[in-house]
Amino acid sequence: MSTVDLVIKGAQLPDGKTADICIQGESIIDVTASFKGESVTTIDAKGCVVLPGLVDLHTHLREPGREDAETVLSGSKAGAKGGFTALSAMANTSPVADTAGVVEQVYRLGQEAGLLDVFPIGAVTQGLKGETLSEIGAMADSVARVRVFSDDGNCVSDPLVMRRALEYIKKFGGVIAQHAQDPRMTIGSQMNEGEVSARLGLKGWPAVAEEAIIARDVLLADHVQSRLHICHLTTAGGVEIIRWAKARGINVTAEVTPHHLLLTDDLASSYDPIFKVNPPLRTESDVHALREALADGTIDIVATDHAPHPLEAKECEWQEAAFGMLGLETALSIVQMTMVNSGLMSWQQVAERMSHKPASIGGYEHQGQRIEKGSFANLVVINPTKMWRVDRDLVLSNSSNTPYHGHELPGVVEHTIFKGTQTLINGQISQGGGK
Amino acid sequence: MSVALSAPDIKRALTRISHEILEKNQGASSIVLLGIPTRGAHLAQRIASIISEIEGVEISCGTLDITLFRDDLRLRAPKAIMPTTIPPSGVENRDVILVDDVLFSGRTIRSALDALGEIGRPRTVQLAALVDRGHRELPIKADFVGKNLPTSKSQSVRVLLSEIDGRDEVSIEGEAN
């Protein structure tokens, strides 16, 4: 046997079996019980789990417009550090990604960074205003081949606009990713409406404002026979609606963020806006419903909703602060803690929810492939028995708004491999990584 | 711990102070006793009743809380504020006798003088203390003293009065050095 480029030795595959993975160029050329040949590079992965490279369907990279908060490059580094080989750049940049020009720019920046695939998401409506459709077709036909469209940050609240968007994307098999938030019911809303908001005197954000839009949109998707994706589901009621819709055969998928799998609204009691996020943190019973739904597949995927903000946007009064928290570098640890260590999910299911399924929803053909001969070598090697301490001063993102500062989390991402190249080596971004 | 004054000692001391007050002020007609809470207030009451027994007249007696006038509030835990009650006669042009249990640094008395200054202008202000333990930090001296007790700074003087503590006794705690 000739010398191969890279071998990952002794890692546990998602199905629990241990194997050596041989990589040549961009591809996996063999998965074997015991590799005996020569290799240029060998990763000793004993005790580690190897998963297909993680795919995030919901990332705010802030470029163009807010490069102080994040750039495509800094976000790519944060992604590689967190085990991702693909990100989906949300459209709420400045200018908004509502034309082929902007999505191509973001796509090109991703390629230049070279640490992972950056797939731009196109805006559903011009300027995210919810009034008229953006150039959806041109974005789909651009170099960026956009398939996912979202006004995220805003809800496509006009039912007629939503209907038209759902119909229009059928032309090329796209999907509308809805940020479900009834705007009238959430004017000035600050946090989940309930006991905690009543006590803190912060304007409530009722669960029904989210659920009413989800209910409407699954019915619309059914009516026009199109494909709908619900961003960041947060309520037990929303889970019930998705479960009902799936049982009816409606073509809907749903995501949950790592933070909604762990954090609850009582954290607002500190009035520290690090916990201010859209949609808001909900209650303990919502968290339990979300975990169960992710485990049983009602919720299809985990997506980070990574939302970087500069320090001054969080060092202020709660009601003045920006919504959002970092997610890329901690996502896998939070999922391991809440879903795997709790026994709710296997690593195989993690691979499904964080790689295979998001890639298939987004139509990312080279991503989310099985770990087998012939697949693209997009992989992540994690040590699930190691603990690490989150330090906001050490994150690779340009921003530091992580809600987990000081927390001990399980699971360390040791290596990330993007199309055969190591982008993360022993927890360090490879400067030579990327092409 | 050693007992410095027994109950009979205290009684004798207060009787002597009462006589001295009468002597110095040539009778009881102009005097107003103001006790500094908590124990000074009870001592003032006792002196007032001894004097009124001797003289056969009612003696003006009140309390003067000095908590809000202390100069060390920044350093100590806040104390509950005790009542200040000025007898109807007032203090204007009277001979005010401040009464406290222990005279030590003199800071309490300085605060009392400040508090008194806010209330009116007595003709004279005099000071009676059951115990003078020394270690003055200010130029203040008592006019009437029950007993001079030489102590070291590390020691503490404990005054028990039957009205609060169930019995009368003055003791010194801690080692002299």
Partner: protein, 315 residues
């Protein structure tokens, strides 16, 4: 006790000792003494990022009677309302050597942000934060109730209090519910369902939508201000209908218990939540609330700026 941010942070004993201290301070200031040297050399900043002349004046009078130096960093036109961040303002106050900051702010939690941050080291007194709390108002209300109906007791055990009106947006209501319940009073919130927060079930108070059924049984009727803009936000149809069901007029006042009192934190909308006859009646203790405000705020500043916890009596 270092800050006063929320009634929830106070124990019953601490609350009562503030009221007792206020009582003694009221007696002192009622007498000849107008000014106490207690806080001489200390600097207190009134940081009012929201207009409230009456609360500011009350805190200012309290601080001055205790001989503190007072700096007013007040309302409209100040840097706080011009978008200077709370952090920058706090750092300015720190540089000025503020021993305490009395903060009024339109954002819920602003006082706690100031206290929890490393931006300044002084004590923080919450003088009203958004729709969260207004602890000094609740303390002066409890002080006023105790004075009128306390029968010499230190707490309010056995008393019934109705809090009527816009509970949803009221920081006065939030602080009062917590404090009155802590002191043993039975609290009933009376409001249209639109003006009660979702989650009110968890408060130590019962709820009624029917003012008339509550009014004959309470010792205190505490009216809350209703802001005009609530009408345009559809919390109720119009002022007339609101007054009819939730306003306190002379007719309703007739069904009150003998000796029961009427309170209002001010400023009042005469004719909307309270009629002029009621506001000026012998049951009304509204002007006395203002007077008591100064003593209670003196007590708060005394307790906070002399450090440590209140120890009982003795020398």
């Amino acid at each position: 006790m270092r800050h006063l941010l929320s009634i929830a942070d106070l124990s019953k004993i601490e609350a009562i000792s503030i009221l007792d201290t206020a009582n003694e301070l009221a007696r002192v200031s009622d007498g000849a003494v107008k000014k106490l040297p207690t806080l001489r050399g200390r600097t207190i900043v009134n940081l009012f990022a929201e207009d409230s002349t009456r609360t500011r004046i009350s805190f200012e009078a309290a601080a001055k009677r205790l001989s503190a130096d007072v700096i007013n960093f007040s309302a409209k036109g100040s840097s706080v309302s011009k978008g200077e961040s709370l952090k920058d303002t706090a750092m300015t106050l720190q540089a000025m050597g503020a021993d305490a900051v009395v903060i009024r702010h339109s954002a819920s939690g602003a006082a706690q942000r100031l206290a929890d941050s490393q931006w300044m080291s002084g004590s923080v007194v919450n003088a009203g934060d958004g729709t969260h709390e207004h602890p000094s108002q609740a303390l002066l209300d409890a002080f006023t109730i105790r004075k009128h109906l306390g029968l010499g007791k230190s707490d309010l055990e056995g008393l019934s209090v109705a809090i009527v009106g816009d509970v949803l947006h009221s920081r006065v209501a939030r602080s009062n519910v917590l404090l009155l319940a802590k002191l043993g009073a039975k609290v009933t919130l009376v409001a249209p369902p639109t003006l009660l927060p979702v989650g009110v079930e968890s408060w130590p108070a019962s709820v009624s939508y029917d003012f008339d059924s509550v009014i004959p049984f309470v010792d205190v009727v505490m009216m809350l201000r209703v802001q005009q803009e609530r009408m345009t936000e559809m919390y109720f149809p119009n002022a007339r209908e609101y007054s009819r069901y939730f306003g306190l007029n002379s007719d309703r006042m007739k069904s009150m218990k003998p000796g029961a009192i009427v309170m209002h934190p001010g400023p009042m909308n005469r004719g909307l939540e309270i009629s002029a006859e009621v506001a000026d009646s012998s049951r009304s203790v509204i002007t006395e609330q203002v007077t008591n405000g100064v003593s209670v705020r003196m007590a708060i500043l005394y307790v906070l700026l002399t450090g440590g916890s209140l120890e009982a009596g003795g020398n």
